[in-house]
Symmetry: C2
Subunit: 256 residues, 2 copies
C-alpha cells in the first residue's frame, strides 16, 4: 500500500494574510503540501503571509488561487467542510480523527485528491458552501471557549493526518532510547561491591538478619532493571561513597 496523498487545504475567503501564512506553517509542520485559496479578502500574494509562514514559503508559492469554491473543489473526489453543522442541514459530522480516515479512504477509492474547506476567520463557511461538502469536520473544542483560530483548526487536521501516516508510532529517531537491562553478571558485580562496602561500614549489625536484608536489597536493585551503563554509574557512586573520608587517611595521602 503506497503512502497516501495528503489532503488539500482550501481556505475560503480568508481575511488576514498572517493567518494564511500560519496555516501554511501548520500544514508544513505535519506534512500537508497543497494549499488552495478562494478569493482572499486582501488579494494574493499577500506580503503579510510570508513572515507568518516561518519557512513554509514553498507552500505559499505553490498555493493555487480560485475565484469560487466550486472551481476550487471541482477536481476533488471528496470534500469536507470544517464548521459546526448548521441546524437544518442533514450531514454526517466527523471528528478530526475520523475525518482523516474518511479522507484517506476516499482518496484510495477515487482517483484524485480530497480536501477540507475552512471558512473566513470571522464568519466561517456559509450554508451554501457547507452544502457542497460530503460531510462536516468538527473539532471538539470546549463549548465555553470555542473560538479556534483558523491556523489552529488546520493544525489539528494536519496533526491527525500525520498521526495516521505514522500509524500511531513515533518515528525511530524520536522514540525512547533502547534501555536494555544489563546482563546478570553486571548485577552480581554490583551486589558484591555494594555488600562489601556496607559490611565495611557495619551496615548489617545482626548477622542473623543479614541474608534477609541482602535478598531485599538485591530484589530492589533487580526490580529497577538498570542498563549496563546505569550499573557502571551506580558502581562509581558506591566507590565514591565507600572511599575512606579524607580526615581518616590524610596520613596515607601525604606519605611522600
Amino acid at each position: 500500500m503506497s503512502a497516501p496523498l495528503p489532503p488539500v487545504v482550501i481556505l475560503v475567503r480568508p481575511q488576514l494574510g498572517e493567518n494564511i501564512g500560519k496555516t501554511a506553517r501548520a500544514m508544513g509542520n505535519f506534512g500537508l503540501r497543497e494549499l488552495r485559496l478562494v478569493a482572499p479578502r486582501d488579494g494574493w500574494p499577500n506580503p503579510a503571509a510570508g513572515p507568518a509562514a516561518a519557512g513554509a514559503d514553498r507552500l505559499l508559492d505553490e498555493a493555487r488561487l480560485f475565484d469560487t469554491v466550486e472551481e476550487a473543489i471541482s477536481d476533488l473526489t471528496g470534500v469536507l467542510a470544517a464548521t459546526v453543522r448548521p441546524r437544518h442541514l442533514v450531514k454526517k459530522v466527523l471528528d478530526p480523527q475520523t475525518a482523516v480516515d474518511w479522507l484517506d479512504a476516499t482518496m484510495r477509492a477515487g482517483d484524485g485528491p480530497a480536501g477540507v474547506m475552512f471558512g473566513p476567520e470571522r464568519s466561517g463557511l456559509d450554508n451554501d458552501e457547507t452544502a457542497l461538502a460530503d460531510a462536516i469536520l468538527t473539532i471538539p473544542v470546549d463549548p465555553a471557549f470555542a473560538s479556534l483560530n483558523l491556523a489552529q483548526a488546520v493544525l489539528v487536521l494536519a496533526y491527525e493526518w500525520r498521526k495516521r501516516i505514522l500509524g500511531g508510532e513515533l518515528p525511530p529517531r524520536l522514540r525512547s532510547a533502547e534501555r536494555l537491562p544489563a546482563p546478570r553478571g553486571d548485577y552480581l558485580g554490583l551486589f558484591a561491591q555494594l555488600e562489601q562496602a556496607l559490611d565495611a561500614r557495619g551496615h548489617f549489625p545482626s548477622s542473623g538478619r543479614k541474608p534477609v536484608q541482602i535478598r531485599a536489597l538485591r530484589s530492589l536493585l533487580l526490580n529497577a532493571r538498570f542498563s549496563a551503563q546505569e550499573i557502571r554509574t551506580l558502581r562509581g557512586v558506591i566507590k565514591t561513597l565507600a572511599r575512606p573520608v579524607r580526615a581518616q587517611c590524610e596520613g596515607n595521602d601525604q606519605k611522600t
Copy 2:
C-alpha cells in the same frame, strides 16, 4: 470515575508575551485551566499577552509565577518535558496521545496535579530541566519542517486531552443529525407519484420492460435511505417537474 483534572501547563522562560497569550487561548479552547510561568523573559504581567489570548484572560489572570523550574513543579505528582530527547539522556518518550494517558493515570494514582513543561521559543528546555521530568513528550512533526510554535505544541497536548475526556465521541450537540430513514409508506407514496408522472410522459415505451425498470428505480430510491423530510422534498420536486409546461396549457390558463 470522576472527571480527571486537566494537566498543568508550565512555560519555562517564555520569551514573547504574545506566545503566552496564545498558549492561554489554546488551553482554553480544549479545557485546560492552569498555567504556570517560570521566569518569563519580559516579566509578568505582560501587556502583549492579553490581546493574543482572545478571551482566555482568566487563565492569564490566574497564571502563577515562579522563579525556578524546581519551585514550579514541586507539588506535581508527575511531570513531562515537551522536547526532543537529548542524545545522552535515557528517558521514556511519549507521543501526545500516550502522554495524556500517562498524565491521567499519574493523577489518578497520586494525590495532586501532573503537568507538562514547555521550554523557551528559541532554545527549548535545557538538559537539566529535561532531566527533572519523568518522561518526554514529543510531537511527531515532519522532520523536514520541525519548527512547531510554542502555542501550537500546547494546542496539540490540549486537543489530545480533550479527546480523552470525551472518550473519542463528539459531544451530542456536535454530532451528526439523526437521519432516520422514512417509513416505508412514504416511499410507496413517492413511487406511485413518480411512476405516474413518468408514465404520463411516456418514459416506459416498451410495456414488457416496464416492471424491470420500475424495480430498478425503486431499489435506487430505497438504497438512498431518505428521511421523511427528504421524501417530502423529492415529492415537491417531482410535482414541479410533472406540471404541464406553460406553452402546452396556455389555453387552459387563460380560459377566463
